[in-house]
Symmetry: C2
Subunit: 304 residues, 2 copies
């Protein structure tokens, strides 16, 4: 059975294992691989933050987008690991007492609880920084032009115009009523930007043409929207045991979401419309797009 | 009078003004220049952190090293601004309550005091991220290979093997006695790495040959050492008014420095040896090296 014909969950799991193994090697304590001295406690905190049993959705999207566009190369796994470093950095910083003040993530103590606040800040900083080192490395892509494009895209989607800006808007929105436009803006930046970029970066790796790139980038935007809507739905429809994290957090924090504005049924309808659009966007790629369209459906209907 | 023949202080001041003006433009609130939405409060915090009246020593070293090696181009100013973004990010995060807990910097409230802790963390994150966007931009250097080299060098000197790692060691050393080797290691990482990289990056921009590059990189190492030794000396020999920051902090914190280990005289002697080495390293560049050697002397003998 070729990988492409395996069930999505098998493929997702295999990718998560590849990513974890690669990150494990990059953050290995073995000094033979490291040219620089890396303080052991800080390294351990970075490992705690990034080797966290995550689903590695962003790496999967990047690798599968690149594959759909004809690019299969070990460099895609490296670039995918850079995305996961940025995702993990944002979780570590978002969990800090000054931000969302979360003590648990995936049932394990968050980095500032397992270590200390200063170490958590520095572990996040170091993972963010490492991501750019990985992206710019010639082992990621043989063309320097592609690497600089990846670096710039990652920076623009992680910085003030992307994830960091979105987190800032999210904090500022706490306890006050915000408009639907504001909710969409902050969610697009905080969560949507990196998911969209995961797909766009797959097109960069594959050096896709403008039309292909526009299609997968819009597909990435849809993935970002669907991910957030599904997350908001799960918060109101699931138990904490199902989620593996505290349910009902949005309501408790009186946090406005699209679900609280429009209700559960309208949100499910929007999700269906998004999935239909995703399928028609990728239709020109034929069976090569099967994995990505299945991923869109999985994200929209996931249970945790 | 050509710029090269102007007194060092005039040149330093002119460079600091160029850097501040360029950063001001990059962080302008004018939406015409920005392709992405940037939350105003976070942008204001980034401006507060980076438009701080700093001496811009790192940008100066980079621009002057590139110039000595024959490279004069607006891209050098852009790359220099990226260095200053990384320097400012590190100051913002180091000042946080969980780290050094400083309320004042250059006589102004630190970012977490002027804004709040969450905003300070995100402003630091955003400045760090922005630096990589600037470095990878084709406006910095026309060759993508040079830009990826700059990105990787910056990441390696800012991350766990550089500044973040050094800060982590510094925090871990508080209140316990550490060896001279440990002091040198942490200072080289925390302060030395970015100063050395400023010089090395000048050679990258100028596409210098291996011999030239080795010479300016060693020069950068010397600058880093001299900067730290001078800083440690000032802490014991100056008043707070002269320094523009609290004097005697190292002694009060019982922080071991090379000055506390070897005394003032031996430290001054080490500084003199370093300056002599710097001068002989750059001797092959003749009068083209005048500015850099004057900078080394200035750093070793500065009063604040």
């Amino acid at each position: 059975m070729s990988p492409q014909s395996q069930p999505l969950k098998t493929r997702l799991k295999a990718c998560a294992e590849d990513v974890a193994q690669k990150l494990e090697r990059m953050l290995s304590e073995d000094p033979r691989g490291a040219e620089q001295y890396r303080p052991p406690r800080l390294l351990e905190a970075m490992r705690h933050g990034v080797l966290n049993g995550g689903k590695r959705i962003r790496p999967f999207l990047m690798i599968e987008t690149a594959r759909m566009l004809g690019y299969e190369h070990p460099g895609a796994l490296r670039a995918a690991c850079a995305l996961e470093c940025v995702h993990s950095y944002s979780l570590i910083h978002d969990d800090l007492p000054a931000m969302d003040d979360d003590a648990l993530r995936r049932g394990k103590p968050t980095v500032h609880v397992a270590f200390d606040e200063a170490t958590a800040i520095l572990a996040g900083d170091s993972l963010l920084t490492m991501a750019f080192d990985i992206m710019a490395d010639e082992k990621t892509h043989y063309k320097a032009e592609v690497r600089t494009e990846l670096v710039r895209g990652l920076a623009q989607n992680a910085g003030i115009g992307g994830m960091a800006g979105g987190q800032s808007l999210d904090i500022a929105s706490e306890g006050r009523s915000i408009t639907e436009g504001e909710i969409r803006q902050l969610e697009q930046m905080k969560t949507g930007a990196l998911l969209r970029f995961a797909c766009e970066a797959g097109a960069m790796l594959a050096e896709a043409n403008a039309k292909e790139r526009a299609a997968v980038t819009r597909f990435g935007t849809i993935i970002g929207l669907a991910f957030q809507l599904a997350d908001d739905l799960l918060d109101v429809t699931s138990t904490s045991a199902q989620l593996g994290k505290t349910a009902g957090k949005d309501q408790k924090a009186k946090k406005a979401t699209l679900v609280s504005l429009h209700g559960i049924e309208a949100t499910r309808a929007e999700l269906n419309t998004l999935i239909t659009e995703a399928e028609s966007l990728l239709a020109p790629f034929g069976s090569q797009a099967d994995t990505l369209t299945a991923t869109a459906r999985y994200i929209a209907t996931r249970k945790n």
